[in-house]
Symmetry: C2
DNA sequence: GCCGAATATGAACATCGTTCACATTCGGCG
DNA sequence: CGCCGAATGTGAACGATGTTCATATTCGGC
């Protein structure tokens, strides 16, 4: 066996354990609830001692942060595709909202992880902050023109970007918490939810206000 | 000592331990982060054995659920005051949004607990569900007229109520996660945030759309 | 005044994140 | 080729967690 780069996957030195840990943890989040994700569980699934993880991550928080950051980058990718592909602003926003809610509905545990920074131990690590900020910056530049984003300014200075983001995130959370029943045909219901929200958001709520 | 109802606060039978547990846990959430709240910690602060809690709650989840439900009732109270007090719909909505964000900013740990059902162990227990549903129903009836709420219908059938709720919740989360810096004068910044969001929400985003 | 029900205790268990001394393997340098 | 330090993985241990159980104490009604 003249394997040049670690062909065996048992015993010492399994090669690229870091990536295997991340993949295993992500697969875990796809199939189970967030509470099922633990350092020891990931180690067990990979077939490695719990302490081995500490050769690749300083703590569990860092593993979680890496996964959450990847989630933000997926959302950023959704944004970029929509912004680059759909010229009509209204159609673009409607499409993006649907995609966003589909992401949350398809990856509920990951989505919860991304927005549980302070709930779980993992405080905002630089990697998560950066990925999250980037996804917001992309939105700001769509609304206010490319290069308009100033990191020193609070998000409140970009009210449109802030409002869509808040609206989508709030709706996603309610969906995951079961306040919005998606029923037995999720892909249809999620689209309907997105459209309903966008109908209000684009035209304004004043027309629906009582009296 | 002819104390008719347990005057001593040490030894066996401390009297109304349930309420003292809830109060202690709530005080804990006011002063520390959500991660500091644990069954053993509450027991320690009250001065009681951890297992004593199980005489009043079936599990830690039930204690958390009781606290979260109380939080929802506080929000419901904010709603009722606004709806009953302010006749002008726009002013009413603006006021309520400010109050909502103030609540989240003033009780960050409690707010996080309320919206972490599936993150923490505690799955949606009936008490939390009921309190959450009630706070939504109050909103629905304001938008669509009293008695219009039908619990068998999904929230998607009340798009205005759903949208404000989503918007406020999403903004609150971003605020707590530091994506919206409230600065050194929170009470001012929170109001500004609420107003900025409502400016978009009431008039619609179409007017701000690029091009 | 007594007895069952309610309540509190303390020890135990499994699980968790983390640390440490130690074992193994890899990679480069003589 | 062989060796040696660095990288990587192991296994035992520690403290903390939620939960359970047998036991002890106190309360309330007869």
């Amino acid at each position: 066996m003249t394997a040049s780069k670690s062909a065996v996957q048992y015993g010492y030195h399994k090669g690229n354990l870091r990536d295997r840990l991340l993949e295993t943890a992500q697969k875990l989040l796809q199939n189970e609830e967030l509470s099922a994700l633990s350092l020891r569980r990931v180690a067990r699934d990979v077939g490695v001692a719990p302490s081995a993880i500490y050769n690749h991550f300083k703590s569990l928080d860092e593993l979680l942060a890496a996964i959450a950051a990847d989630g933000y980058r997926q959302i950023e990718a959704l944004e970029r595709v929509a912004y680059d592909t759909i010229a009509d602003p209204e159609a673009c926003l409607r499409h993006l909202t649907r995609e966003y809610l589909h992401f949350a509905a398809s990856n509920p545990s990951l989505y919860r992880l991304m927005f549980s920074r302070a709930v779980l131990g993992y405080r905002a690590l630089p990697e998560v902050d950066e990925a999250g900020d980037t996804s917001f910056r992309v939105s700001v530049e769509w609304w206010y023109g490319s290069g308009s984003y100033d990191p020193s300014k609070s998000a409140i200075h970009y009210p449109y970007a802030l409002a869509v983001w808040s609206l989508c995130h709030g709706a996603a959370m309610q969906m995951l918490d079961g306040m919005v029943t998606v029923g037995e045909a999720p892909e249809i219901s999620v689209d309907a939810l997105a459209d309903a929200l966008m109908n209000v958001f684009l035209r304004g709520a004043l027309v629906g206000v009582p009296k």
